[in-house]
Amino acid sequence: MTLNRRTFIAVGTAAAASLSSPAVLAQGSGRPRVVVIGGGSGGATAARYIAKDSDGAIDVTLVEPSRSYFTCYFSNLYIGGFTDLDDISHTYGTLAAKYGINVVHDWAVGVDRDAKTVSLAGGDALSYDKLILAPGIDFVEDAVPGWSVAAQNRMPHAYKAGSQSELLKAQIMAMPEGGRFAMVAPPDPYRCPPGPYERVSMVAHVLKETNPTAKILIVDPKEKFSKQALFEEGWQRHYSGMIERIGPDFGGENTSVDPDAMIIDIDGMVEKVDVCNVIPAQKAGRIADMAGVTMGNWAPVNAADMSSTVDADVYVLGDSADQGDMPKSGFAANSQAKVCAMAIRGELTGSRVFPAKFTNTCWSLIAADDGVKVGATYEATEERIAKVDGFISETGEDAATRKATYEESVGWYSGITTDMFS
């Protein structure tokens, strides 16, 4: 048989196709493959550090459905009028162009841990040697009876930033004079422990300027909350008489809502409100559950490298991870991502591995130039990420200190987003 050009091409195509299963996208060429699901503080940082530090020796794919990512941190400052939504929006072009990361804007809808593949909503599949799950949070169904994602337009959560933040802000600005804003706060553990209370501060700041007779009601299932003394002191100083909080002793843990009627039922006490910000109980982003690495609501990990306790080739970062003492924060996810990236490079390319070190700091803004912070350092133990040392702002600090703390938080925002996206 003589091979003419046309048949040669046909044979070549068939041979190439037979090398991989038809549904799996061609990736890399012999390089180890890392797939990262989720492009937030954990996922974007991990993808960037693995690609940057391996100098192309590892093929990195980042799966993130959003083309524009809005950080949850500083989204409260948008509500307070201290930043624009554009300023907390980030894109993935630099990760692709500068580091060669394959950025796939699609939903991961399944993980086959035996075949080591991730299936995408668009129909493709990605194979991996190491998989990083950093999907953030999803909400526990029926956590607040009467509320569901279908009702989030009436009662926004604004706990995944972007359109929800914009919606909540618009509702606050449209409140009737002397109207009432309510927040249904989440039970522990949840993303950004001071977040709901910073949000209340920012809502109060806006209302004080635009609608000073308006009131704020917090319905809270928790006895205590993060930076409580600092927030309560600040609320007294800046927003005296404006904010009321109902804790579990008065039924705060037994709350339901009626989004159509804009009603909150607090253990039988019915309150009609004008804006209702429902932040439901939270769990690991759903893909972690689908991958079979969760126990209960979260995915347990080994502290030394953030690998799942059920699969050594799957790693879980940030909010979704059950890791021990660190709070669920963007700073924590960013810190965990660097430990994880170092460990994965070590396994795939033999690069040096150093002891895990973790850090977190959370800044909150209470009013203009009145910033506070809490932070800690952590180390890996056999059982968990364990706290080593920490600090918190003090009540009664002078104005210069608080202003410096706020300015520092602005500097941190530049730092961490550069560390993720530039």
Binding site: S335, K373, G411
Partner: protein
């Protein structure tokens, strides 16, 4: 609710005889000859090349309204650094240990007794010297300088690069400063003495005290080596 008023008990510093004097103010006046080119002190003293030094004890760093302090000195003030026997002692011993980019062109006074004498002299020009203890328990004879053996450690820049990933969550890796100072391309010794000053809590910033507090001497050297030339 009516506030409950509790009595405030003021603890008075030990009087004469209760503590050794800081040092000899007469000898301190001689050492001050090294300072008078820039600093005025005493009746009618004004800010000149350097700020005047009347009433310095207990004052927050960079507190004279009209004096153009360096950015580094202003930041130290904002961070909460206050002039006490201990911080003045450390600053005079090695100005850059406490304030990295201070404009005070003074290489430091290594002799602990000479510093003590100088501090005793400065104390005379406080509004109320009686309120300043004549001796703070740790002020005299404390050596704040970083051990030469620690300064001699050759840092491992590769380890430093990994450790640096914690720093760049806040400090911009490219050295730009936006609310948080630059930490890149520092002379290694300056970096090391600054980190040890945080570790000893001489420098006031709580995040930095925490971060430095858990770094070993080798880790600080590694970071200094990496940040000296991160590219």
């Amino acid at each position: 609710m009516r506030a409950v008023v509790t009595g405030l008990f003021v603890t008075l510093a030990p009087g004469p005889g209760g503590a050794d004097p800081i040092g000899d103010p007469e000898a301190g006046e001689q050492h001050f000859n090294d300072c008078i080119g820039c600093h005025e002190i005493g009746k009618g003293a004004e800010d000149g090349i350097g700020p005047h030094l009347n009433g310095i004890f207990g004052r927050r760093v960079a507190a004279h309204d009209d004096y153009p302090y360096s950015e580094s000195m202003q930041r130290a003030g904002v961070d909460g650094l206050t002039w006490t026997l201990e911080t003045l002692d450390a600053y005079i011993e090695n100005p850059r240990a406490l304030v990295s980019k201070t404009r005070m062109s003074y290489r430091g006074l290594g002799d602990a007794q000479a510093r003590a004498d100088l501090l005793a002299y400065l104390r005379r020009f406080s509004d109320n010297p009686a309120n300043i203890p004549e001796a703070a328990p740790t002020a005299v004879g404390t050596d704040h300088s970083v051990d030469p053996d620690i300064l001699a450690i050759q840092g491992d820049p590769e380890y430093g690069e990994y450790l640096s990933s914690e720093c760049v969550s806040c400090h911009m890796a490219d050295g730009t400063a936006d609310g948080i100072p630059s930490i890149t391309r520092w002379p290694e010794d300056d970096f090391v003495v600054a980190m040890h000053a945080y570790k000893e809590k001489l420098r006031p910033h709580p995040v930095m005290q925490m971060m430095a507090g858990r770094l070993s001497n080798e880790e600080i050297a590694a970071l200094a080596a990496y940040f000296r030339d991160p590219d």
